[in-house]
């Protein structure tokens, strides 16, 4: 297990290095930040001064060398737009994205496992129908529409929740609720399908024959065996949330990593783009390693 984790960590580091090189050069092919930062009627001299001030007038290989050298000293460079260290800007955004993603995924996990297992236990029953409806809504209704409708209903009509922002715990309710729907709809179906397969297995029939009651049968015996595909899908969904939930962040004014990344790409704020991608990649690599560990915990064959 330790060896496997070590191998994954080395592979992740190499991937990170490749990603950094790729993003560095590709981002610089997309346009001149001076043109976007300065007003449309800025003089050529102003543009040249801007490039010189930020080292953008140097040959690209020289810029890359300087970037790598700084990176080795844990200096990710400054944001062109915000005139402050890019790492500060990115980590600040992560302090909002990370809890948003973790809380949402935790709720999704609990709800999807419980409801998915109950739906599979009695096909066509109340839970099965509930799960189908929520899955359908999650798959078919766009995030932005759900978000706007939620604001109209819960903030304007009822006045129960703030429309947007991050001031109090109540500000988190609508963003989490909107983010919850899509991964829940997907994962609950995976749990249901996986549980249906597991419930038909010979060992379950044996357990039933031995008189094991429903609750331990579902949540102790069957669920554990049904969890491997669920964890895989959960990993994908969690990765998407760690990349930022652009639409939800935009609508609810949540200063997270998704909106920061999009804005930085549009503004050609290279250092922020690079830092955000690298920090996100590290977060996803860590999560993948945790998933590998979870596989090992659930399935002893993987540990060996």
């Amino acid at each position: 297990m330790t060896k496997m984790i070590g191998q994954r960590a080395i592979a992740s580091l190499l991937s990170l290095l490749g990603l950094m090189i790729l993003v560095f050069f590709l981002s610089r092919l997309t346009g001149d930040p001076a043109v976007l930062f300065l007003p449309i009627d800025a003089t050529e001299q102003m543009k040249e001064e801007f490039r010189a001030l930020h080292g953008l007038d140097r040959p690209i290989i020289e810029q890359f060398g300087a970037y790598v050298w700084d990176l080795l000293h844990l200096d990710f460079g400054d944001s062109l737009r915000k005139a402050r260290p890019a790492i500060d800007v990115v980590l600040e955004a992560y302090t909002w994205t990370l809890p948003l993603a973790l809380i949402t995924m935790a709720l999704v996990m609990v709800a999807a496992i419980v409801l998915g297992a109950l739906a599979a236990f009695k096909v066509g029953g109340f839970f099965d129908r509930l799960v189908s409806i929520v899955s359908l809504v999650g798959a078919s209704a766009p995030d932005f529409w759900i978000a706007i409708v939620a604001i109209v209903i819960f903030s304007i009509n009822f006045g129960w929740l703030p429309t947007s922002g991050v001031g109090t715990p109540l500000h988190w309710v609508l963003p989490i609720a909107v983010l919850f729907i899509r991964p829940f709809g997907l994962i609950v179906q995976v749990v249901r399908g996986s549980m249906l397969s597991a419930l038909g297995a010979a060992y379950v029939k044996t357990a039933r024959a031995k008189g094991v009651k429903n609750r331990p049968l579902i949540f102790v015996h069957t669920l554990r065996n049904a969890m491997l595909p669920v964890i895989t899908v959960m990993g994908d969904q969690a990765a998407a949330l760690l990349n930022g939930a652009v639409i939800v962040e935009t609508i609810f004014g949540f200063p997270g990593i998704g909106k920061l990344m999009i804005d930085s790409i549009l503004q050609r704020d290279f250092n922020v783009v690079l830092t955000a991608i690298m920090v996100t990649a590290i977060a996803i690599f860590i999560m993948n390693i945790l998933i590998d560990i979870a596989y090992g915990v659930l399935d002893p064959r993987i540990r060996q």
Partner: protein, 501 residues
């Protein structure tokens, strides 16, 4: 039972949030569309920064009355005088202090300009002095002579664009701006909010607003909803679709002009008849009240009607498709390739419904015989086509752009858009160059007359572009607030203009 507990909890929480969201009587919340990356005073001519900083935290020597007809007004300078030889003398206001307690004097003015011209910081206002060398002579603490080489007849007007910082301000980007304005920045939580608090020691009249909290939401429906829900008091820049409540929603000219820039160097655009046909082919009225808001005006110049030298005699080109066809036929008979492909290039999210406007224009052009297509591009690609040097090997292009001039003088538009050396010009006409140069150097009535003549010449004689619309903006203002958004709201939002009902 569980449900009752949950519902009870939610209701309890909702009652507890109401006081938090409600405002103290004279505190306001403003919800802006775009977060501020910087709070640097020398970047205050950028609209999102200017709305927070300009005349609230930092002040300028002079101030232009964009809304009324008072013209150029004193602010930190009490008076100014043209001493000749390109030199203007500014008498500075006495008894003014910065928010850090230091006294405002002539050295602060010089230092503010030194920062603007430094190559160690990027300041937007530097562009207004691109071809002008300024030298400063501090006569005494309250008098400064500024000499422009070449002479700059609108130097006092240009003073509306440079914010004054104290001599102690470092040259690097400021994160805690110090100014002479009626407010001081008391909090900046990046990505969340900026708070301005009223100063007790401001030199001028105390504004009614005691504290202003700026929050940022890029979705217009959310900005409008925030005012409706009582979470915010002012939401500039909502959309036409949101501006449905006459009690709170205002529609007003926003100083933006939409036009199609014609590049006359590419066939068939060099032919006058083709350019006239372009103008006659577009039914401008058809856009208003449909894809564009009611109140949008047909443009007859690159600048809004509040600008110096406005030519009231000009009328928008008449929609006449038959005439457009005749003009094209006449041009084709003379060997002009009127069937050459034309690209209409527009920028995504440039203004609401820009894609629909582009699609309709292309259809109208093709209806009279042009071979036009629409290409929507993002901002960086748009800039490649907008400013010189234009791409080599291009087909004929009509570049759709939106230009903002709320500065009061055409000089901020006409050189860039029409002079043969202008960075966004598609024109190469000696008379245009001459008129721009003469008007730029002139003063008073002569200046206004020259600009007026230029407007007529570019529109009627050389048909330099396809002028389309003077746009309108929409803002929502909470019912407890006494504030009417105007053309100035596009670039600044002076808290001192806000009071309470």
């Amino acid at each position: 039972m569980l449900f009752k507990h949950l519902l009870g909890g939610v209701l309890l929480a909702s009652t507890s949030i109401v006081p938090a969201m409600a405002q103290t009587n004279t505190d306001i919340t403003v919800v802006l569309s775009e977060e501020l990356d910087l709070v640097e005073p020398c970047m205050a001519t950028r609209s999102n920064i200017g709305r927070v900083i300009m005349q609230n935290i930092s002040e300028t020597l002079t101030e232009l009355d964009v809304r009324g007809d008072a013209g150029l007004m004193p602010r930190l300078a009490e008076s100014w005088e043209d001493l000749g030889n390109g030199t203007w003398q500014f008498k500075l206001r006495q008894g003014v202090t910065f928010s850090d307690g230091t006294t405002f004097d002539a050295a602060d003015v010089k230092h503010s300009f030194d920062r603007v011209f430094s190559d160690q910081i990027t300041c937007e206002s530097k562009r207004y002095f691109a071809d002008t060398a300024l030298t400063f002579n501090i006569v005494d603490d309250n008098t400064i002579d500024i000499r422009a080489e070449p002479a700059q007849p609108i130097l006092p007007l240009l003073m509306t664009l440079v914010t004054i910082v104290p001599s102690e301000a470092p040259v690097e980007v400021l994160r805690e701006p110090i100014g002479t304005g009626p407010y001081v920045m008391s909090e900046w939580a990046a990505g969340q909010q900026i708070v301005l608090t009223r100063r007790d020691d401001y030199w001028g009249t105390q504004p009614a607003v005691t504290k202003a909290t700026y929050v940022f939401r890029s979705e217009p429906a959310v900005r409008a909803a925030m005012v409706e829900a009582g979470e915010a008091d002012i939401a500039p820049q909502i959309t036409q679709e949101e501006a449905t409540n006459p009690a709170t929603d205002f529609t007003y000219p926003n100083s933006e002009t939409v036009y199609l820039r014609i590049d006359q160097t590419i066939e068939p655009m060099g032919d006058l008849r083709v350019r006239q046909a372009l103008n006659a082919a577009i039914d401008r009225e058809a856009f208003i009240g449909t894809v564009l808001a009611e109140g949008t005006e047909l443009a007859v110049a690159m600048v809004p009607p509040t600008t110096l030298g406005w030519n009231a005699d000009l009328e928008p080109p008449a929609f006449d498709p038959e005439k457009a066809k005749e003009l094209l036929a006449a041009a084709a008979a003379d060997g002009i390739n009127t069937g050459a492909p034309i690209e209409v290039i527009a920028r995504t999210e440039n203004f609401p419904h820009v894609t629909e406007v582009g699609e309709v224009i292309v259809q109208m052009l093709n209806d009279v015989g042009f071979k036009a297509t629409l290409r929507m591009v993002e901002v960086a690609e748009h800039e490649q086509y907008y400013s010189k040097p234009y791409p080599e090997g291009r087909v004929a292009q009509l570049l759709m752009a939106q230009h903002d001039n709320s500065r009061g003088d055409p000089v901020f538009s006409m050189y860039f858009k029409y002079h043969s050396q202008g960075t966004q010009s598609g024109v190469n006409d000696p008379k245009v160059d001459e008129l721009i140069e003469k008007a730029t150097a002139a003063t008073g009535d002569e200046r206004a007359a020259l600009w007026s003549e230029l407007f007529a010449y570019v529109q009627k004689e050389i048909v330099a572009d396809v002028l389309l619309f003077h746009m309108v903006g929409h803002s929502r203002v909470g019912e407890r607030i006494d504030f009417k958004p105007t053309i100035a709201t596009n670039s600044q939002l002076q808290l001192s203009e806000i009071s309470f009902k």
